[in-house]
């Protein structure tokens, strides 16, 4: 986790839950506590802690793998597009690349969610270039067609892995 945002470092705590998985939590600037339990099975629980009793959760929302990916895309993709404008091109440790979807790619004709790009490689798909147009911040259910080009952002290794995954 590298929460490098506008200068303030967020403090994300990681706790092992033996036999269950991992818990990450942090406090928002407004003073609310949020967390995520990652089960070994891949299930994710989104936690909103109680104001009155900060040791307990007011809400526990169970998310399947797909739902968690969708939420991550919703929260992450829009932010990244925002950043791109600021960052322009290359920053150390960050790679931006254009990956073509060839007709032989295992994911041609399937949805972005199927690639699990974010959970498998940590790479975000920030836009799809299709024909003359572009689909900025595509949602996970958007399909990938042969001939598309994906604009992706991640670590250099993650981008390389994704490129192999997509058969580019």
């Amino acid at each position: 986790m590298r929460p490098k945002e506008t200068g303030t470092r967020m403090d994300i705590q990681e706790t092992t839950l033996p036999g269950v998985g991992l818990r990450h939590d942090f406090t928002t600037r407004a003073g609310r506590q949020l967390g995520v339990v990652t089960h070994r099975t891949g299930r994710r629980d989104l936690l909103v802690y109680d104001r009155e009793d900060p040791d307990t959760c007011q809400e526990v929302i169970q998310l399947t793998n797909d739902e968690a990916d969708a939420l991550a895309e919703l929260l992450g993709a829009a932010r990244l597009v925002e950043h791109l404008a600021r960052l322009q091109q290359q920053v150390e440790g960050l790679a931006i690349d254009w990956l073509p979807i060839r007709s032989g790619s295992p994911y041609a004709g399937r949805a972005i969610a199927d690639t699990q790009a974010r959970s498998r490689t940590g790479v975000s798909i920030v836009a799809i270039l299709r024909g003359d147009g572009a689909i900025p911040a595509p949602t996970p259910e958007v399909g990938l067609d042969p001939g598309d080009t994906l604009v992706v952002v991640g670590t250099p290794k993650g981008v390389k892995d994704l490129s192999q995954l997509l058969g580019s």
Partner: protein, 406 residues
Amino acid sequence: MHGAAVLLELGGVILGLGILGRLAGRFGLSAIPLYLLAGLAFGEGGLLPLVTTQEFIEVGAEVGVILLLLLLGLEYSASELLGSLRAAAPAGLVDLVLNFTPGLVGGLLLGWSPLAAVVLGGVTYVTSSGIAAKVLGDLGRLGNRETPVVLSILVVEDLAMAAYLPLVTGLLVGGGLLASALPVGVALVTVALVLVVAVRYGETLSRLVFSSNSEVLLLVILGLALVVAGLAQQLQVSTAVGAFLVGIALSGEAAEAAHDLLTPLRDLFAAVFFVFFGLQTDPRSMRPVALAAAVLAVVTAVTKMVTGWWAARRVGVGPRGRWRAGTALVARGEFSIVIAGLAVTAGREPALGPLATAYVLILAVLGPILARASEPLRAALTTAVTAVAGRRSARRPAGGWSPRGP
């Protein structure tokens, strides 16, 4: 005709257990006490004694213990175990002292042999990790701050079992303390050795065992666990520990896939195991020990709550969380029965089986109820304590005082 009778009887038992499990689920209770009651009803002196399927149930019960422990081992990796041990050692020690002692003292007060008292100490010591984990999940407490504490205490108890079970097995077989020193020593060395190997070579072993074909994986892992359990019994290390160690040694992909594959099998055979334990107990023998079981249950419910309360306070959890941690630990279940089963099989202390049955019946029911009611319980007790304190002191601090502060 014999075949039909066996099928009818076995089918009837399993169907009955299914209906009982459904009933328990409706009330948010553990099914373990109902299975035990079913066993009591089917046994000698019960309502519907079984005739033809005793033998099958006996073997099934043994497989049930092995699967219970194998799956428990699969839940944790060796490094997770050692990590929890380091973090929760003080809490684990308090847990051991507070909850082993009542059983030990109770057994001696009942005039039992020291060995039988040690077994009873084990029965009162172990929280049912199955019931506790289910309660935490059902009540949406996995994200709570006190939950890691509760889970680490459960892990330390499970590890303690890896030393305790071979010890007791050895003592039960060996007779005297001196005569059994050698087998017990052998057992403990084996356990330590396997743990070291599991930490070092767990990944290699898992890769060797893993197969993407679920049928093959199921057969290989089940077979491996049974063979190791059998070898463990030959060494007098206790079959359960053998299976537990196999579970620990497997990790990663193999462990996860095996966990999913074996869970339904475990559920079936564990139910058979509880029924079998009930079968061995004559319901009429429970009346004389009922009072002792009730007293022991109340005392050890309180000591477990103190354990959880203290452990949660140690990591800075607030009063409500401390109560939640305490009540979550109260339930006793599968392992208390596994431990008592060792002594029953060895034919020691005839009152131990009935006492353990009654004890688990009480706490397996009471545990989840207390866990649900932890907040009203805390509130009631706090008001009672403040009322008493208010009456005692001349000034009254009771007004706006809350134990949590702002």
